[in-house]
């Protein structure tokens, strides 16, 4: 094991949150989300007014999203250790990660494309905008399964001194359950389950961020313990 590469990948969750968050909030002005109840004309006005800012913000946040993949790999490698020889939950987790973090990636592509030619008719710009928000909120189902698979891998660790603390397993299951309400966003244009609502956007966002911090801490702890008393054949 190379402790440096492992630490770098575990820490890469933090640049994901910081770069993605700062770029989307402060550069692109996409948070709080554009209300799904807006008319095409309102959406077009927004993209016209912030055309350059949105393109700049999405270009920067693109760099942040990529770190979500290295971070997921670092969690998966350590849950794979917890699982043993045939780590199926960890493989499943990684495929889910491609879609949960990949959803953010696709959203950015659509926001950027909508801002690329704001001289287009309002129907086109608002359809691209819809696609972007769909990609932010709907892949919650993959984030949900990613969290739950991490949780199960941790809880099924039979070691007397497990790789991860067991409460982290329960925490991951809780975080996964909270990603569920987003899946129903296509039915609502206002209220707590719409894409800018409390239960479809804000709560999953807060829990998702908390989840990255907790799992980063748990992986760094596992690396530290492995260095202190190595059990791997190198």
């Amino acid at each position: 094991m190379n402790p440096t590469t492992h630490r770098l990948c575990a820490w890469s969750g933090i640049p994901f949150i910081v770069i993605f968050g700062v770029a989307m909030i402060f550069i692109a002005h996409m948070v709080p989300p554009l209300p799904p109840s807006w008319t095409g004309a309102q959406v077009l006005d927004f993209y016209k007014a912030h055309s350059l800012a949105i393109r700049a913000g999405t270009a920067v946040s693109m760099m942040g999203v990529a770190f979500g993949f290295t971070w997921s790999a670092s969690v998966a490698v350590w849950t794979a250790r917890a699982e043993g020889a045939m780590p199926v939950l960890s493989f499943g987790q990684l495929v889910c990660a491609a879609w949960s973090f990949g959803g953010g990636y696709n959203a950015i592509v659509f926001f950027s494309a909508a801002a690329f030619r704001p001289d287009r008719p309002e129907q086109i710009v608002s359809a691209l905008n819809d696609q972007g928000w769909y990609w932010i909120v709907m892949p919650g189902s993959c984030a949900e399964l990613q969290c739950i698979l991490i949780g199960l891998a941790i809880l099924f660790d039979k070691r007397t001194d497990p790789i991860f603390p067991r409460w982290v397993g329960y925490f991951n299951i809780w975080a996964g359950l909270l990603q569920i309400p987003g899946a129903m966003m296509p039915f609502f244009k206002v209220g707590p389950f719409a894409w800018n609502g409390l239960f479809a956007f804000w709560m999953p966002l807060i829990v998702f961020s908390l989840w990255i911090y907790v799992d980063t801490w748990a992986v760094l702890r596992a690396i530290r313990r492995e260095i202190a008393s190595p059990t791997l054949v190198t």
């Binding site: 409460w167 329960y170 299951i173 309400p181 129903m184 039915f187 707590p192 409390l198 709560m203």
Partner: protein, 198 residues
């Protein structure tokens, strides 16, 4: 053999009275989920305050019988789970398995009734986009139903565990039972909120 079982049971029962049942971790999950449902309830009451008349009219369309039967089913299942955990503690694993199976059947009955209730609503043209009351009704009961489904998975896992468990392994049963009781408790709070609060 009987003596051994009695001894084991005496050891298991000799625990101090105020020990947290199950693992600490499962309580993190339970408390976390309760906080989220707390947010659900407050949000519901806020929206209800905005459109009290519409909420009352919509609530009157719900079939109270289904709600009451489901409450009884979950309460009964929790009772079976409690007896099942006790049976494990006493080393009576076959009895435990039978009790857990009864709890599972009650939970399955809950899901069947819910499916019937949803079908009836759809047939009357009521869906989750009808109005704000039915948005909350379908979303909250749907999210709760998902918890029931996960809880049924936990009960299946515990039934499987009775094959090998000894009285000292009772902790895993307590953890699973804690989750199931939470599912029950959430319904006990959802039921009056959606069906009864006027």
């Amino acid at each position: 053999m009987k003596g051994l079982a009695d001894e084991a049971s005496a050891v298991a029962h000799a625990r101090p009275a105020k020990v947290l049942p199950g693992e600490e971790g499962v309580w993190l999950l339970v408390l976390g989920d309760m906080i989220v449902f707390g947010f659900f309830f407050v949000t519901y009451l806020y929206y209800r305050g905005q459109e009290a008349e519409l909420f009352d009219r919509s609530q009157a369309l719900l079939n109270l019988h289904f709600g009451v039967i489901n409450t009884l089913l979950l309460l009964t299942s929790s009772w079976f789970v409690v007896m099942g955990v006790d049976a494990v503690r006493d080393g009576q694993n076959r009895r435990a398995k039978a009790l857990l199976r009864l709890a599972f059947l009650c939970g399955g009955g809950f899901c069947a009734i819910k499916a019937l209730e949803y079908t009836e609503a759809f047939r009357e043209g009521v869906t989750l986009v009808t109005n704000n009351f039915f948005m909350f009704y379908f979303m909250y009961t749907g999210i709760h139903l998902l918890h029931v489904a996960i809880g049924l998975g936990v009960l299946l896992f515990l039934m499987h565990k009775t094959e090998t468990a000894a009285p000292k392994d009772v902790r895993v049963f307590e953890s699973g039972a804690t989750f199931w009781h939470m599912v029950d408790l959430l319904w006990i709070m959802l039921f009056p909120l959606l069906y009864l609060v006027r």
